[in-house]
Structure formats: structure tokens, C-alpha cells
Subunit: 345 residues, 2 copies
DNA sequence: TATACTTAGTAAAACGTTTTAATAATTTAA
DNA sequence: TTAAATTATTAAAACGTTTTACTAAGTATA
């Protein structure tokens, strides 16, 4: 008979049904293969547990010092195509390690981040994965410090931050930017523009630095082609500008991500520019759609799933008190050659 | 002085610092604007709370019967573009209502769903949002029943299920399928194919039914154009087939979603079919990318964010014990006319 | 036979909060 | 002046588990 009265069975219910003390139930549940109790007692208890569908209340276990099998994950958004995959990698790994994930979407607001962290502390989460506001605001550092001071392990995703002693998993965005630029140069391009949003964030500015350095290293003149995110027609104008002048670019590197690149391809088509025959366009991230669209996108593949999974693994090490030797874990990127970038010359 | 010893302040610490009993602290924290205590006591306590950064441990509150301010959300995947947005709507609304969200990704496995639900029961979540396995398996029904029997409110997202008394938020997929088909007919098309995956799920088969009925209502012959998901080249072959015969389709309705439609456009380009001049292609969902690609996609817009937000609002009503009059909440869809579908004839 | 050791199981305290019922101090009413 | 009412505060029980230290009974050892 399953209980149907709307209340969960307690350990005392199990004890009563099995005819033993609750201490016995607790011990047997802790280690069902123990040899402290007779086989008969073990069997009685286990079958009572099953019959009542008993699972110990987590909050009572927490009271006795057990940590909550829950990890907090702070992400700036699920709309940006990058994060769902990171989140997926993180939660999958967490589940494999026996944790659940409390998911918090900050919309890049430090206040919301603040309040989520507070809630997580109250709940007593076992650890926190933090992909916080992008600019290393003082308050961000304070938050991380607070968690660490409370003994709550923290790992950061895709965001570097030296000061508080807290590992970080991400990509070497500088090298990735450098790599892609060099690839385009090797394909014969000389006049290569860098399509970048004005609202540039730390990791994207790293890519930009990579682009600049690569251009310089090959004796080429960098050309920044800036636009405003969320401003309709801004990419169109930016593209028109670098296309109208006498020293037209032959390639554009959209360091802001594949979405920017795809939008740029669309603008190109409006301007009767054929990609890649008239103009090559490269992206960054390798989102799912990049392979499907026409022309398919040449891009840098970020190991999004792996970033999440690795971060969770590092967090687990921190929770277990194991040494985490590296402060910064940089995962490898991959150059994906597709149709949107052509060789010239 | 902030505590730096790695332990959280307890209510007794606050009481000691403020020179009052812990009962006093608890009462003042419960209602800071009370008039049970002197202004002086109120001030002392509040400043001690601030100084020690005290927040009551949730687990101890749970012990006293307070429900955990956490909602469980079960989603089959974050990779499918549909769910991140639904999740976003759900969590945003949850946060506004004072809840956090435990996020669980089942990968369409009923076993994982089962185990997540168990964990959520142990944790004592205040409610569950369930977008479970698609086929109404008996075990799925059992799961929902179990939650309900324990007094844990459940709302279902994008999945109909009559039997257990549990509200559901979604779209009228039949009407949406009918509507799009009729639109295409009104644009002069007569030979309209329905591009559908073999692995058809409940909600998609509803759209298919809508397509069939609309065709029948206009005296037209439905033509199913099936392909295998995750099988490379399957859409290509399906398209080739309906294009080679003497009674070529002039339009295709990809009921499986925009991704299928976009992939189909790519295949069309390989076959030298110009979309929309030779062939019109319509999608379903209206994912972010659909507006950006070339040609942009004519599609049915699902209120993804709203589905999540509405589900959470319904769940809140259930938690509060308010009456939820409707069993099935169907949100409006929207026909989005873009470039991939042309008028003919 | 007395002693030590095992074995099988349990009583009770502890965890950090909330809340009820009580106390002590003060004011008001009679 | 005393009783009653009000105000300000607190003691202690309760929530559901885990765990430590204990008991009682049986078994081996000297």
C-alpha cells in the first residue's frame, strides 16, 4: 500500500513497519551491505523502505552536517547560443557525479548575481559554477571572496579573474583570434577587417588582441569595423563602410561570434556582395546552425560542452579537497574550414 | 568584522552579538517592521544581522515546515533550440516569484526523469515543471501521480496528458499546422508537401494532422515527405524525391521545426533549387536564427518564453492552493511571413 | 566458573531554526 | 493600593535525521 495522504513517510514510519528502531533503519540505509545486522533485519528494513517509498529528507541530513547534493550555476543568459551548451555540459557532468544543479540566469546584472549567490549560501549548496558579469567589477571579486571565505568552492567559466584564488575554465581567446587571422592570411588575404561590437567584453577583446597581433606579425594593417549590438542596421552600415572605400577588405573576421557573422552574410547579400566570392567572412563559436546555413560558416569551434563538463569536474575536486594544480584551465579550440572563407590571390 | 573562519553565522551568534535571545532575532527577522519589540532592540538585531551577514539556513527552516523556495524543472534537452527559451521564461518568472529553479536535463530518458523526480522529492521542492518524455508512457503517468499524491504541485509544459489531474501549458499544434497550410494554399500553392521526421512525437503529429485536414478541406492531396533525423543526407534524399517526380511540390511545410526547414533550404541549394522562386519552404518555431538567414524563414512563431513563464505562474497558483480553472492552457501562435515562402499562380 | 570479547540492536543527543506559551516588567483601571 | 491589562522578551519544544555511546545477550578464552 502506497501512502496516499499527501505526506511523505519518515524514518519512524519505516522503523515502525519493520519493527526496529530508527537508528537501525538509518544505519542499514547508509550501508545496505553492512554486516552489523542480521540478514533478516536487513531484509525487513529494506522492504519497509520500498513499501513506503521512503527517501530521507535532505534537509534533515543537512542538519547533521551532510552537504546538499546541489551545485549552483550562474550564467548570464540562455538566449545567447553559447550558454545552453555550456550549461548542458555542466549539468550532465554534475548529475554523473551525484549532484543536481540550481540554475540562475543573471542577465548580466551584478545585483541579480549577488542575490542568487545569497540564496545559494542559504540553501547550503556544495559548490558554485560562476559565469558572472563580464567586466571584473569590484563587487564580482567580493562575491567570489565571500563564497570562498565561507568555504564554498567556486569555479569560474569563460571569465578570467586573477585575484581571488579560484580556478577558471575557458579558451585561450587570444591564441584563437591569432590563429584564425593567420589562417585567413595564409589563404592569400591582405586586407582583413575585424568585425566587432562596440560593447566589447573581456574575452572578445582578447580575440581582438589576437587579430591585431597576427596582422602586425605579417606586416598588415588591422582595420576595425565596429557596430552596435541590438541596433538594427548597424552591421549593414559597418559593412557598407568597409566595402565602399577604395581599399576594400577581402575578408572579415567576426570576433563577436557566429551570429554576427551570419547577420553580416545577410547584409552582404543585400549589398549584392557574394560570400565568399567577393568577400570572405569568418565567425567564432561554431554554433549548431553554422554548419547548416548557406554558405556554411568557417569558424573557430569552442568546446562549449567540454567547458561546462570540465568546470564541473574541477569543482568536484575542490569539493573533495583535492589539489587543483592549475589556476587556469584552457581548453583547445579548433579551426573549422567551411564555405564562407575563400582562398584568393 | 566579517567572519573569516569558513563557517556561517548562526542565529545564536546574532543573538549573542545583539545581546538578546535567538527567539527575538527570529521574530524580528520574520517581520522587521513589527511593533512587538522596542526600536532599540530592532536596531541592535538588524545591525548584528548585517555585521555577521546572517541569513537563516534554509534546511533548518524546512524542518519547521517551511517549503523550500525551489522549483524543479525537467526538460528533455538544452540543445534543441526550443527549450532554452522556455527554460528562460520559466526561471525568470520563478525568480520574480521568489523561487530558484533546479534544472534537470533528461535527454528524453524516462529513467533519468524518474531519478530526478526522486531527488526533487527528497529535497522537498515546492513544485515541479515537467516537460517529460514525449510519448505518454505509463511510467510517466505514474511519476506525475506520485508527485500529486505527495501533495507536490505539477505543471506540464508542451506535453498533453489527460489522466492525472495536472494542468498543461502549450500550443494548439493542430490549429497551427492547419493555419500555416491554409496560408500557403492562399498564396496559390496546390502541391504542398509536408516535410516530417519519421521519429514523430505527439505534438508534431498534431501539426501533421492540421496539415492533412487543411489540405482535405481545400480538396488537395496531402503529400508526406519523410526523413530520418540524425541521418546524414536524409533530407536531401527526401527533397530529391518530391522534386524529381512529374508532380513536383511547389511548397514544403517543415512541421518538425525551423532547423529542418533551414537544412532543407541548404539541400535545395545543392540541387540548384532556388528558394523561394522554385520552391517555397515554411518552418515551425521561429528560432532566433530564422530571421537572420538568407532567405529568412516564413514560419509559425511559438511563444516559447511565454510558455515557460505561464507554466510557472500556473504552478504558483497551484502552490498557493488557488483554483486553476483550465486544465489546458493554449497560448496563441503567430504566422510570421518572411522570404522563404512565395506567392505563385 | 569467571572474564573478555562479539554480535545485534537501541536510546538519546545533536544539528539550526521557528513558535508557543510563559515570564517579568510596566502601565492602566478600579 | 491592588488587580488587571499591556508590553517586551525569552525558555523550551519541535521538526527528521545521523551518530555515538551504550546495553544485553551470546560466545569464546583462560
Amino acid at each position: 500500500m502506497v501512502k496516499r495522504n499527501g505526506t511523505r513517510a519518515k524514518i519512524t514510519d519505516v522503523a515502525k513497519l519493520a519493527g526496529v528502531s530508527m537508528a537501525t533503519v538509518s544505519c542499514i540505509l547508509k550501508d545496505p551491505d553492512n554486516n552489523r545486522f542480521s540478514d533478516e533485519t536487513n531484509k525487513k528494513v529494506l522492504s519497509a523502505v520500498k513499501e513506503l517509498n521512503f527517501r530521507p529528507a535532505t534537509f534533515a541530513q543537512q542538519m547533521k552536517g551532510k552537504t546538499l547534493p546541489v551545485i549552483g550555476l550562474v550564467i548570464p543568459s540562455l538566449m545567447n547560443h553559447f550558454y545552453p551548451e555550456v550549461t548542458s555540459g555542466f549539468t550532465d557532468q554534475a548529475n554523473k557525479l551525484g549532484y543536481n544543479v540550481i540554475f540562475a540566469n543573471t542577465d548580466n546584472s551584478i545585483e541579480r548575481e549577488q542575490s542568487f549567490i545569497d540564496t545559494m549560501i542559504s540553501l547550503g549548496v556544495a559548490g558554485v559554477g560562476l559565469c558572472g558579469v563580464d567586466l571584473p567589477d569590484e563587487r564580482e571579486k567580493e562575491l567570489v571572496k565571500r563564497l570562498i571565505n565561507l568555504g564554498i568552492p567556486v569555479v569560474r567559466l569563460d571569465r578570467y579573474l586573477e585575484e581571488p584564488d579560484c580556478p577558471c575554465v575557458g579558451l585561450d581567446n587570444f591564441r584563437a583570434g591569432y590563429f584564425m587571422t593567420e589562417k585567413i592570411i595564409q589563404l592569400g588575404h591582405r586586407n582583413i577587417g575585424c568585425l566587432a561590437p562596440y560593447e566589447i567584453v573581456q574575452i572578445v577583446s582578447e580575440r581582438c588582441r589576437g587579430y591585431m597581433e597576427a596582422m602586425k606579425a605579417h606586416g598588415l594593417l588591422p582595420k576595425l569595423c565596429k557596430f552596435h549590438r541590438n541596433e538594427f542596421g548597424s552591421i549593414y552600415k559597418a559593412l557598407e563602410e568597409v566595402w565602399t572605400g577604395e581599399d576594400r577588405v577581402s575578408a572579415l573576421f567576426a570576433i563577436g561570434g557566429d551570429i554576427d557573422a551570419i547577420e553580416c552574410i545577410k547584409c552582404a547579400s543585400r549589398l549584392n556582395i557574394q560570400v565568399p566570392f567577393d568577400l570572405s567572412i569568418a565567425g567564432f563559436d561554431d554554433i549548431y546552425i553554422s554548419e547548416i546555413i548557406n554558405p556554411s560558416l568557417t569558424t573557430i569551434k569552442q568546446p562549449k560542452f567540454e567547458i561546462g563538463a570540465t568546470a564541473m569536474r574541477i569543482l568536484k575536486s575542490l569539493i573533495d579537497g583535492d589539489d587543483v594544480e592549475e589556476e587556469m584551465i584552457l581548453l583547445p579550440f579548433e579551426y573549422i574550414a567551411r564555405e564562407s572563407v575563400n582562398a584568393i590571390g
